[in-house]
């Protein structure tokens, strides 16, 4: 079956998460992604178990999922001979992607100017921590970046510690921004024949993830910067509530009609008649009392009963699922948001994140999980880069490749 990005070759010089996941999106839709790694240890994501900071499971899902559908070449880029191989790769590439620091790239003669001179059609993409301009160049992790966006500071109950979104959201979203930037630049290149430089940062991505609150603040709503309590909200009909088993999120407008329907769903005739809650303004002004009343009503039955009753009244609501719930959700499997892939490491089929975009004619695919370090070095040097075997031996003797 044809793939959307067939014929696009990506040189993927990335480590950890944001960079690799950007190239993963391209690889899923058919780009020929060649991951270039240092011969000793490769991408640090391969060794993520040894730092014992992340829960991994019995196979290295951290590395293997975001590097799926890729090839791997091991090249020592500190050596001039290694750079020579890289340049030949760049001649055959459409995209160069790296989340190494700009100084790191410069030191290995891999700056934009250098690679553009070799291939003017090249799209040169970097992932920085804090953006291309402004001079901030300190270590960037999902947490260090999320901490400065204002998003953490406004989450949590007032007076309680700020809340980390805790899902690698900046890394994941940064990867999507990077993939989007690459597609934009490829589109432009197909029109003009010229590549360009682009950067998508963790910081930029997280600011746009925080967009609704942030824009509200920019528009003059100072309160949007503050922590908000679920016990006292603008609209008690749009809030999280406990039930006998799990929390639910109710999303209804603060109208008399929606309130009447909610009271019917809850079988709460006395609430419907409570003089404090008869108007939009009353429900807003008395939100603390109304939230407390809804809490005590909802706490007595399990969420399934309430969701059914709310649906019958045309009210939108959802269970607050945990990961075990969503991993079983048939809707997610039906849309290929989850899929299965064979894992060499444990010699069995494993469940993986699938494809976030559904294309009718050229859908994505998870053909293979992440490659072994350097598994394709020799074959690509022969078939793609057209080196002779004695040249390859010479590169090995110099230590440019293992």
């Amino acid at each position: 079956m044809t793939k959307a990005l067939e014929g696009i070759r990506v040189v993927d010089l990335t480590v950890w998460f944001q960079g690799p996941v950007a190239a993963q999106h391209l690889a899923d839709f058919g780009a020929d992604v060649i991951k270039v790694e240092r011969p000793k240890g490769g991408d640090q994501g391969r060794g993520v178990r040894s730092i014992k900071a992340l829960p991994i499971g019995d196979w290295n899902q951290y590395f293997l999922v975001i590097n799926r559908n890729k090839k791997s070449m091991a090249i020592d880029l500190k050596k001039p001979e290694g750079q020579e191989i890289m340049y030949r790769l760049i001649e055959k590439a459409d995209v160069f992607l790296s989340n190494m620091g700009l100084a790191w790239l410069e030191a290995r003669n891999l700056s934009y100017d250098k690679l553009k001179a070799i291939n003017p059609r090249l799209v040169y993409a970097t992932n920085t921590g804090y953006g291309r301009f402004g001079g901030v160049d300190k270590p960037a992790f999902d947490m260090t970046v999320q901490a400065i966006t204002g998003a953490m500071a406004r989450l949590g109950e007032p007076g309680q510690p700020p809340i980390y979104l805790g899902m690698g959201s900046g890394d994941a979203y940064g990867g999507i921004m990077s993939a989007l930037g690459i597609m934009l630049a490829l589109y432009q290149r197909n029109r003009t024949g010229e590549g360009q430089y682009l950067d998508a940062s963790l910081y930029g991505a997280q600011l746009f993830l925080a967009a609704p609150y942030l824009q509200s603040f920019l528009a003059g709503n100072a309160k949007s910067a503050l922590q908000h309590s679920r016990k006292m909200v603008e609209n008690p009909l749009w809030n999280v509530y406990p039930t006998a088993d799990k929390w639910i999120y109710l999303c209804a407008e603060n109208t008399d009609d929606a309130f009447a329907r909610l009271c019917r769903a809850l079988g709460a005739a006395e609430l419907a008649e409570d003089s404090r809650f008869q108007t939009v303004d009353g429900r807003r002004a008395q939100s603390e009392a109304l939230v407390a009343a809804l809490d005590s009503h909802l706490e007595v039955k399990p969420h399934g009963d309430w969701l059914e009753a709310m649906q019958a009244q045309g009210l939108a609501s959802s269970p607050i699922n945990n990961l075990a719930d969503v991993a079983k959700d048939e809707q997610a499997w039906q849309n290929a948001y989850f899929t299965k892939a064979y894992c060499e490491e444990v010699k069995r089929e494993v469940d993986v994140r699938g494809l976030p975009v559904t294309l009718s004619k050229t859908p994505g695919e998870v053909a293979t999980l992440g490659p072994q370090l350097g598994q394709d070095t020799e074959i690509l040097m022969m078939d793609l880069l057209e080196y002779e075997w004695d040249e390859i031996e010479a590169f090995k003797a110099k230590g440019a490749i293992p």
């Binding site: 934009y112 953006g131 291309r132 301009f133 921004m177 990077s178 989007l180 930037g181 934009l184 630049a185 432009q188 010229e194 360009q196 430089y197 682009l198 950067d199 998508a200 940062s201 930029g204 991505a205 600011l207 746009f208 967009a211 942030l214 824009q215 920019l218 528009a219």
Partner: protein
């Protein structure tokens, strides 16, 4: 970044998450008013005549 809006004056808006060296993003205008460009698109892009556009407007098909 800052932008002038016809109804609201100077407003602050989020800029762009991606830097591109040769084809940078730009903010030309905020969201349009409802149907602001209906007539223009029908005329310039789709080739409708003034009369046809007036008819569609008076029939309530476009606004």
């Amino acid at each position: 970044m800052e932008l002038d809006h016809p109804s609201f004056g100077k407003v602050k808006s989020l800029g762009f998450p991606i830097f591109m060296s040769d084809s940078p993003a730009r903010l030309q205008s905020l969201a349009p008013c409802k149907g602001q460009h209906s007539g223009q698109v029908l005329h310039d892009l789709l080739g409708y005549s003034e009369d046809a556009i007036n008819q569609l407007t008076s029939d309530g098909v476009i606004a």
